[in-house]
Assembly symmetry: C2
Homo-oligomer: 429 residues x 2
């Protein structure tokens, strides 16, 4: 085993970058190969800012690209974030300089993963991103390394801790989305601009990367369906519960003969299912392989310490000098991502209609569904306080998305239906 020391450049000293610096300064000898990890350069937006560790002796770079290019470090760690701008420029510069890169930047790789993988592989250096997905849970390592002898059929899970926290709180406290979000922002669980999280985009970046690892396709964020939790009504959380389900933001990727379906939707999971049981800021993921069967992993999906530990594990992997393809296959062999037409996708659904409390409404709704070819699995009508009208809630048997959408249109046009019908998918898990 070589006992080389490794010089590390770290760009970005936010939550994860700060956690990493703290770790590297406290434990430079963590390497499995016996050498030291020495921080030889840092870059962040602001130099003079109170930090719980001393950076006065570490060379400072105003420009992360200059840090990435500097011959004074052997590994470049990108923790700036953002899919364009300095993060992308710095990662490219490091790879062009023939330097291994470790990043936690899911947005960057979801948008530019294939091109960066080509660059890394042309230079023969690793580009690792364990911390980009599920924080401290090694989902990337499991999919890239442990399932190398398998054909992955699907992955599905909870990949955004902020959304999971908000949904868990809404159910537990009976408060509305906006109210719980404001609290989460005060507590630091949600960003000042929460769009990336609550809009589903963060989970979509992550499932885009997992799909590339699972199916050997180039990451293609544009082909990922994204729906967030910002439209989730407390009423649906309660009614779903009455039907034995819990509402979760589920990200999933499945392959079929027609291609790959990658999506993020608020979805219903049966109450006893491990995904329904993963509460608070937990992340959880099912990986289904043809040989291995179903593996389930769960753990803290965010936070300075778990995420920094994942970055450290990637640095350790670089130290072993192992080089693998960035995604499942070498970048030159990644298949183009062929999205399945979602309208052909089959699935079960939860529908809620607010209706006038008058005779014949149930008949009208159920006849319309029958005519449209939607088969009802369960049906619930229940008065709700402080609501206009009465909710009719039902779950369907598996139905093609296009048929479902057509049925919803018809029902929306019934005179007794007061509001836009609400659709939540039942997770295929």
């Amino acid at each position: 085993m070589s006992k080389t020391d490794w010089r590390i450049g770290v760009a970005g000293l936010g939550t994860v970058g700060g956690g990493l610096l703290e770790f590297l300064l406290e434990r430079p000898g963590f390497s499995p190969t016996g050498g030291q990890a020495i921080v030889t350069g840092i870059s962040a937006r602001t130099r003079a800012r109170p930090r719980p560790f001393d950076i006065s002796n570490i060379p400072w770079f105003d420009d992360p690209v200059a840090l990435a290019r500097s011959p004074e470090n052997d590994i470049f760690v990108e923790l700036i974030g953002g899919f364009e701008g300095p993060a992308k420029d710095a990662v490219e510069a490091a790879l062009l300089a023939g330097k291994p890169v470790v990043t936690a930047n899911k947005a960057l790789l979801a948008h530019h993963g294939a091109e960066l993988a080509r660059l890394a592989e042309a230079k023969g250096v690793p580009l690792l991103f364990e911390a980009a997905v599920m924080g401290g849970v090694p989902a990337v390592k499991i999919m890239r390394e442990a399932m190398v002898g398998d054909d992955i059929l699907s992955v599905a899970g909870i990949l955004n801790g902020t959304c999971n926290y908000i949904l868990t709180e809404m159910e537990a406290t009976g408060r509305a989305f906006a109210d719980v979000l404001a609290d989460a922002q005060r507590l630091g669980y949600a960003e000042a601009d929460p769009t990336t999280d609550v809009g589903g985009f963060d989970a979509a970046h992550k499932i885009t990367l997992l799909a590339a690892l699972a199916f050997g396709c180039a990451p293609n964020f544009a082909a990922t369906e994204v729906e967030g939790i910002d439209q989730i009504d407390l009423m649906d959380i309660r009614l779903a519960k009455d039907l034995g389900y819990r509402v979760k933001l589920v990200a999933s990727a499945e392959r079929s003969e027609d291609g790959v379906l990658v999506r993020v939707h608020p979805s219903l999971a049966p109450m006893a299912h491990p995904l329904a049981q993963a509460g608070g800021a937990l992340n959880a993921l099912f990986i289904e392989g043809q040989r291995i069967g179903r593996i389930f992993v769960q753990g803290p999906g965010a936070g300075a310490r778990p995420t920094a530990a994942a970055v450290a594990a990637d640095i350790a992997d670089v130290m072993t000098r192992a080089v693998r393809p960035v995604f499942q296959k070498p970048a030159s062999e990644l298949k183009p991502f062929t999205p399945v037409d979602p309208s052909k996708s089959m699935g079960r659904a939860y529908l809620r209609f607010m209706v006038k409390d008058e005779p014949g409404v149930i008949a009208a709704v159920s006849e319309t569904l029958a005519e449209a070819g939607v088969s009802i699995e369960s049906f619930l009508q229940k008065p709700v306080e402080n609501a206009d009208g009465v909710p009719i809630v039902l779950t369907t048997h598996a139905v093609a998305e296009s048929v479902l959408m057509a049925a919803i249109e018809r029902i929306a046009n019934l005179s007794s239906v007061l509001d836009r019908p609400r659709l939540l998918r039942i997770a295929r898990i």
Copy 2:
């Protein structure tokens, strides 16, 4: 990336070896580094035996040691089993020849891991054993690689699928241990000689290895406390359920200032806990790290295909030429394993006493416990059909094991107590 082909020697063609051969012959190009995996030698007890794959063109070795030494293969895969004899001889021979070794042999490593790790590291070759623990679930990789930047505090889980299947069936069908075991043997879920599984030894081998990975101690099977499920009475499964628990064979390793406590016991897990929810032949594990927090993994712990996929993943790791310590630290730095005196260990317990149905019994039992310093958490007396006497069941608050044992002795000597008290620990999870 080098596109070297790798020549693989496989000793042992049982369930896992057969699964591996089938995989390698079907998919020799699975390597992440682009080369082919070519089976250049095999060895097993019987050559002429019907197999679902063709071995007629593969060089045959009657002696696995000769296969291990043969210059015709680059990687030696040991799937013979057993902690002495040909498995050990062959692994040693391969390492002495400077050849990477992949094995699924938990018994061998639990007994001789430190010495084999020293040999492998002296020769600078990997000795990998992912398939030894949890079959297709990459517990070893997670602990060795993903948690390299963390301090692991404890691991606990269900590591033997046969025991978990038997306990699940006992609860579901209300049949006795011997009855369910006989069925499991007929179905091929349990061996003809089931001692290794139902005696807890297989789980003990596995938790011994996980403890070495977690705490940087030399594996020390002799220091692992082992209790199997062969004495589990259906009555306790039912009474535990009445108290909100499920009986599981839990393997755990914890460190404290005094040392390391590694044990396998039938234990009670709260019904809603993920370990209680892992039914049938599933394996499940919690890993608690100081930085990462609690990670949970679950999946199929055995079976030809999942286990062979784990062996294939190890072969792929060898192909990347990464070399890490076999356990958490280099073999020369592994700490001696200092077992905690279990009598000092604190924990909660479930106790059952069969008593005569007469006045004053509850008072006698509870007074004796109080005098011994055992504090009762819950108490249940319930008539049971077809039993001699009436069971008194209770759970205790945390108590030192030595205090508990002394209390049990006292109660066993009460005239109204008919039988040896039954103790099950409540899992610290």
